[in-house]
């Protein structure tokens, strides 16, 4: 099937002329039509616009102009990323009818690279969640087992790639929202360094943590999309003005040299406890793969790991409570019938936000309120410094850090919705990386007894995307986990 091709393979055929962008886009749209009633990854499918974009790429290619490896490749975009003229909801009722008047910088960069946007994919409301169960509109299911969550918050982005509905997708990652669903669905997802990719036009959740990144089926494809996204944007004041390396070269080095000479740290705080034994075994086996590939794998310590979840759930809701103050029912978004201005604010926000968003706004407002600021917010900012220093110490002697993605594989739908704190703890191995602003990638490294994918996280120092990609590709080249695919789809029949 055309939809099984990697981006690299499809791009080669497009370049040779034995495949057209329109054919490839039709294949993706047909796949979405055949499978999305079971998966529910998409909130909006932009079939007409996608086919028009694809036709334009084909016409341009006939004139001899080649925009590069993403030209004509169908890609899905998380619904917190603005797409001009296409509804962008953040999976929230408060933005149910919002149509952005402009493209996010990452959307524009995809379009400039000739990528074909096939639609907008589901997520937890305002990217707040670890399971995708907080969407106001749809329950996205894990293509490996439809009774399990795809992870969150970029669950639609992950499920669409795993189910072969799109060749890659954009996600956002504030506390693991790219990496956790990538791990739960057996694909590759990368959170770049804070500042590497513009957030202009990305609906804000927690601005000191939010970052956009690629999700794809292998490391090579992930690097191709990152190459298109990365770079300075004067319209995002946190975007860093430094040269963008050749990520393809870093990936090639991983394939050519393997893990030889890489110094890899294995933090002891990321193992044991309530971890699913198969997860620990798979990650330890991955470490052994690195060792036999010539890497120097050493135990290390990130002593403040256990504080990361508490630190994050002070800081992120605090920032969210401020960012989401803009949804007031005045200039855009839902407006509830009300008696006077204050009543309009309170009723519009009550009607528009779902339970988890309300919970985080309340938590954030509480920790910022008079009398609690020093005890919670300032304290958490200081603990954030301790977490950063942990990583600085380890990176003095290591090129990358390797960890599990989560203590378990994807959990069942409804399993954690009753207890918000248990849901928050799913992100325990993800969150420190956001607090420290580091790049991290997730690659598949095994399956458990139920056949659910297990992910491996590889973390680098700030702006260390190249060494992260090299290590990830070296692992991928030495294993075949990335070639596994969701079982019901492998049998060629639509999911139940």
């Amino acid at each position: 099937m055309l939809t099984d091709l990697t981006i690299a393979a499809a791009a080669e055929r497009l370049r040779r002329g034995d495949l057209s962008a329109v054919e490839l886009t039709r294949a993706a749209l047909d796949r979405i039509a055949a499978t999305d009633s079971a998966i529910h990854a998409f909130l909006t499918v932009t079939a007409d616009e996608a086919l028009a974009q694809a036709a334009a790429v084909d016409a341009e290619r006939k004139t001899g102009h080649d925009r590069g490896p993403l030209a004509g490749i169908p890609i899905a975009v998380k619904d917190v990323i603005a797409t001009k003229g296409v509804r962008t909801t953040a999976a929230s009722k408060i933005l149910a009818d919002f149509v952005p008047p402009y493209d996010a910088t990452v959307t524009r960069r995809l379009r400039d690279a000739g990528a074909v946007i096939v639609g907008k994919v589901n997520c937890d409301e305002f990217a707040m969640g670890s399971s995708n169960e907080n969407s106001a509109f749809a329950l996205t299911r894990n293509p490996w087992d439809l009774d399990r969550v795809p992870g969150g918050s970029s669950g639609g982005s992950a499920a669409a790639v795993a189910a072969r509905q799109a060749f890659a997708s954009l996600g956002t990652d504030t506390g693991g929202s790219i990496r956790l669903p990538a791990g739960y669905t057996g694909i590759v997802g990368m959170k770049p360094t804070y500042g590497r990719v513009s957030r202009f036009g990305v609906i804000a959740y927690a601005s000191s943590l939010d970052q956009v990144g690629p999700m794809a089926r292998d490391v090579t494809d992930c690097a191709l999309v990152l190459q298109a996204l990365a770079g300075h944007d004067p319209r995002d004041s946190t975007s860093v003005d430094r040269p963008v390396p050749d990520y393809g070269a870093a990936v090639a080095r991983g394939a050519d040299e393997g893990a030889r000479g890489l110094r890899i740290a294995l933090p002891r705080e990321y193992f044991g406890g309530g971890m699913q034994p198969e997860v620990e075994a798979a990650v330890r086996a991955a470490a052994a793969t690195f060792t036999s590939g010539g890497a120097d794998v050493q135990d290390a310590s990130l002593p403040h790991t256990e504080y990361a979840v508490s630190c994050y759930y002070v800081l992120a809701p605090a920032e969210a409570s401020s960012n989401l103050a803009r949804y007031d029912g005045i200039r855009y978004g839902l407006r509830a019938p009300a008696d006077g201005l204050l009543d309009l604010y309170r009723k519009s926000r009550a009607a528009g936000f779902g339970p988890e968003v309300k919970r985080r706004i309340m938590l954030g407002t509480y920790v910022l309120s008079s009398g609690y600021y020093d005890a919670y917010y300032l304290k958490a900012q200081k603990v954030r410094t301790l977490i950063r220093r942990d990583f600085e110490r380890v990176f003095a002697d290591a090129d990358v850090i390797v960890t599990p993605v989560a203590p378990t594989t994807a959990f069942r739908i409804g399993e954690k919705t009753a207890d918000p704190l248990q849901m928050y703890l799913s992100d325990v191995f993800m969150i420190s990386v956001n607090l420290a602003g580091l790049p991290g990638i997730v690659v598949p490294c095994g399956v458990d007894a139920a056949g659910m994918p297990i992910g491996l996280q590889i973390v680098g120092p700030p702006f260390g995307e190249e060494v992260v990609l090299r290590a990830a590709r070296a692992f991928e080249a030495a294993t075949s986990w990335h070639q596994l695919r969701p079982p019901e789809l492998a049998e060629g029949k639509p999911p139940k």
């Binding site: 407006r335 309340m362 900012q381 200081k382 954030r384």
Partner: protein, 108 residues
Amino acid sequence: MAGSGGRCYTPPPVKVSVDDIRHVALLARLALTPEEEAELTTTLDSILQHMDQLNRLDTTDVEPTAHVASVAAPFRDDVVTNAPDADALLANAPARDDDLFLVPKIID
């Protein structure tokens, strides 16, 4: 003295009252139902109890991290870069009158 197995369980002190929740909900401009107030009183309390673990750490001489980016806020020239387009900006307005956003009366 707690002997073997003799330690009594003392429930942790409650941090959040329903009055706190009502006060914070007003600050946050959220109208909550009585059920939501009750649920948030319980869940915020348990979340904040968990966060108390942060107080086990001595952070006396630790600088806070607001942001990992080390760059200062950049300056730009104060020039308009987008063309005025009132229709585009008002297209998502829940209520409008020509080129204006309509809001409830705020001054009698």
